[in-house]
């Protein structure tokens, strides 16, 4: 009797396990995404998450990639570098993704490079700092879509130089994005005939008393302030600077309506470098990016509301698009794709190679030309300088 029972038990267990094993070779292409949805960079991470969710639906409604649906697994890093690393490990080891999109911030991206490099899974970061992809030798598995910080610095410096300004004050966030900006602002100044007469850093989350910073700027004789950071710091600095008569120049970190909302009247006249997303409708029809920008904008805003689409959504769009293009390149039909999915490691490696081969891709951030030496693939001219006029972004054409 006992014997029978145990046999029955074994039979039941086997029956329970077999279908699970069968299922694990599922017919989906799993792509991981790490975004700061609830942390300090949530204004970046939220549109990034929303845009990949939208694209997932769009791609799958159209029959997936070559008939195989994709599954985008999004995790919220809360802006913490350590949880970003452990979530990346989870995506790679438990979820079995073939590529990772994100993280949202420079600090998290730098923290996670080691993990993806060891696991040999391609990652397309949505953060701006050049240290993420330069030198490529640090990790051939890491790419990024946003314009590199120095491109933005060059763009705004050349504008400032044209205004006849020679003495500037710089204010930079102590965290990743601002710290990278500080270095480029310092390095590039002399190339544009600019002298940095005041060089201050601030803690974005902790500072409520900006007056001492402003006093120092006033005393330095600076003719303009260049501020590198994300909300709310730059908006509060612009507010505090209002009334001193010193013009405020920002970075692409303030390319959202939140900046205008927080800075209020002080936002008027603020000038900053940014990808073409914000001024898509002002671009000439000959611009190769115009069509893709307007398409994304209308799709995204139909789902999430008027005026919600921003450059950060664009960065994640470009990243997922690149992975999609690479997958299509590796496996041009359903048979090869099914075959490739059986060996994830090899598939991931091929995806990486194809991302590196992307050429002439007109995305939202610019026209990408990846190469073994350049894992960002953008060049000068992919950014424009805009000015805030009546709460709207206006393209300042040269």
């Amino acid at each position: 009797m006992k014997h029978w029972l145990s046999l029955l038990l074994v039979a039941v267990l086997v029956a329970a396990v077999v279908p699970v094993v069968g299922c694990s070779e599922s017919e989906t292409i799993k792509i991981g995404a790490l975004f700061d949805v609830t942390g300090p960079n949530s204004p970046l991470g939220t549109p990034e998450k929303q845009v990949v969710e939208m694209m997932e639906t769009q791609i799958n409604d159209a029959g997936g990639i070559n008939g195989v649906p994709i599954e985008v697994i999004v995790y919220d890093t809360e802006g913490k570098e350590d949880s970003c690393v452990s979530l990346a490990t989870r995506l790679i080891e438990q979820d079995g993704v073939v590529a990772i999109i994100g993280p949202s911030s420079t600090g998290e991206s730098l923290a996670v490079i080691d993990t993806v490099d060891k696991a040999q899974i391609p990652m397309v970061s949505c953060a701006a700092d050049e240290r993420i992809t330069i030198p490529v030798g640090d990790s051939i598995w890491v790419f990024k879509t946003p314009q590199t910080t120095y491109m933005a610095v060059q763009e705004i410096y050349s504008y400032i130089q044209d205004q006849g300004i020679t003495k500037i004050a710089i204010m930079t966030d102590t965290k990743g994005f601002g710290a990278g900006g500080k270095k480029d602002l310092e390095d590039e100044a002399s190339n544009y005939g600019l002298t940095i007469v005041s060089n201050q850093s601030y803690d974005n989350e902790e500072t409520t008393n900006w007056d001492p910073f402003i006093s120092k700027i006033e005393n330095s004789g600076a003719e303009a302030v260049v501020c590198w950071g994300t909300n709310p710091g730059p908006a509060l600095i612009a507010k505090a600077l209002d009334g001193t008569g010193i013009p405020f120049f920002g970075s692409h970190g303030i390319a959202n309506t939140k900046f205008i909302e927080v800075a209020g009247d002080a936002a008027e006249g603020v000038i900053f470098p940014v990808g073409k997303m914000l001024v898509a409708d002002q671009l000439p029809d000959s611009d190769p990016q115009k069509a893709v920008l307007l398409q994304l904008k209308s799709d995204y805003e139909a789902l999430y509301g008027e005026g919600t689409c921003n450059t950060f959504a664009g960065h994640a769009y470009d990243a997922l698009k690149m992975v999609q293009m690479a997958v299509e390149e590796v496996a041009p039909d359903k048979e090869t794709l099914t075959e490739e999915l059986k060996d994830r490691k090899a598939f991931a490696a091929k995806i990486r190679t194809e991302i590196e081969n992307i050429e002439g891709f007109a995305g939202t951030g610019g026209v990408f030309n990846m190469s073994p030496d350049d894992h960002c693939g953008l060049s000068k001219g992919c950014m424009v300088v805009v000015k805030i006029v009546n709460g709207e972004w206006v393209w300042l054409q040269d």
Partner: protein, 285 residues
């Protein structure tokens, strides 16, 4: 630096410090009455700021009314926190109660983030003209005078004071220690919320703002040994001035980026001297 600028920065430092002092007083009052260090104190500051913004901008109330209601609402949250989380666990050790306050702080932060969003909100308009710092100092002074009168002139204030001096003796003479604990939470919440409300015109309120301001208030309270209200106020103001002056003076390695190290430095020094003094007292006895 011209003398006027120096004075301006001094004023901004004192005002910023007044906010730390208000937050710190919340820590001190709860601690003296209940021996609990309330780690949800920073959330009251956040509620004061966020509610002020919501009542003013979303509901459209006039500014003074919005500020007043925001402080009242935060006070209610403080009272409810005591009734729902602290009082039912009153038999637990003080350390458990402190851990409850940490949980409560995460809870309040999470709820606010979920309901009103995690993004920064625009600052409120200045109370008048361009002298928000003076408003902050003025309001803080009024609050302190009121607090002093409350503790020295009213029956409830005296009862609170009695509880903080000797809880058992206070119970023996018929003071209800439990209702005093309730009052201390409500009062601490009100003080924190006032701090949050007055600073809102100068910062972008958001659901995480209580972390920093709560910490600075904690440092202020630590200077006052969590017992002395005067010590807490002095601690807060010194911290505010020190932070402003570090930026202004910019001594080489202690450049502006390290402004926020000051609070930690003060805390370390206080703890260091306190523990060495404590050890000396122990040795003496």
């Amino acid at each position: 630096m011209s003398p006027e600028q120096f004075v301006d920065n001094l004023i901004s430092g004192v005002a910023q410090g007044s906010v730390y002092a208000l937050v710190g007083l919340g820590f001190t009052i709860i601690y003296t009455v209940t021996r609990i260090i309330n780690f949800a104190q920073g959330e009251f500051v956040m509620l004061g700021g966020v509610f002020s913004f919501l009542l003013f901008s979303s509901v459209g109330l006039p500014l003074p009314l919005a500020l007043l209601l925001a402080v009242l609402a935060a006070t209610v949250v403080g009272a409810v926190l005591y009734l729902l989380a602290i009082r039912p666990a009153r038999q637990a050790s003080v350390i458990s109660l402190i851990i409850i306050t940490i949980g409560a702080s995460t809870f309040i932060r999470g709820v606010v983030g979920q309901i009103w969003g995690k993004d920064y909100m625009p600052p409120l308009p200045h109370f008048s003209g361009d002298n928000q710092w003076l408003w902050i100092i003025g309001i803080t002074l009024v609050v302190m005078v009121a607090l002093h009168l409350f503790f020295s002139r009213t029956m409830m204030g005296k009862a609170l004071k009695a509880c903080s001096i000797n809880r058992q003796a206070a119970s023996l003479v018929g003071i209800d220690a439990r209702s005093m604990a309730f009052t201390s939470f409500a009062l601490a919440a009100a003080l924190g919320a006032i701090g949050g409300a007055v600073i809102t015109p100068l910062t972008a309120p958001h659901f995480r703002m209580g972390l920093t301001l709560g910490l600075k208030g904690f440092v202020a309270a630590a200077v006052g040994d969590f017992r002395s209200q005067v010590g807490t106020v002095v601690g807060g103001v010194i911290l505010g001035i020190a932070e402003a002056m570090v930026v202004v003076l910019d001594w080489g390695p202690f450049a502006s980026a390290y402004k926020d190290v000051i609070a930690m430095l003060v805390l370390l020094l206080v703890l260091f001297f306190r523990s060495s003094r404590g050890a000396a007292q122990e040795a003496a006895s």
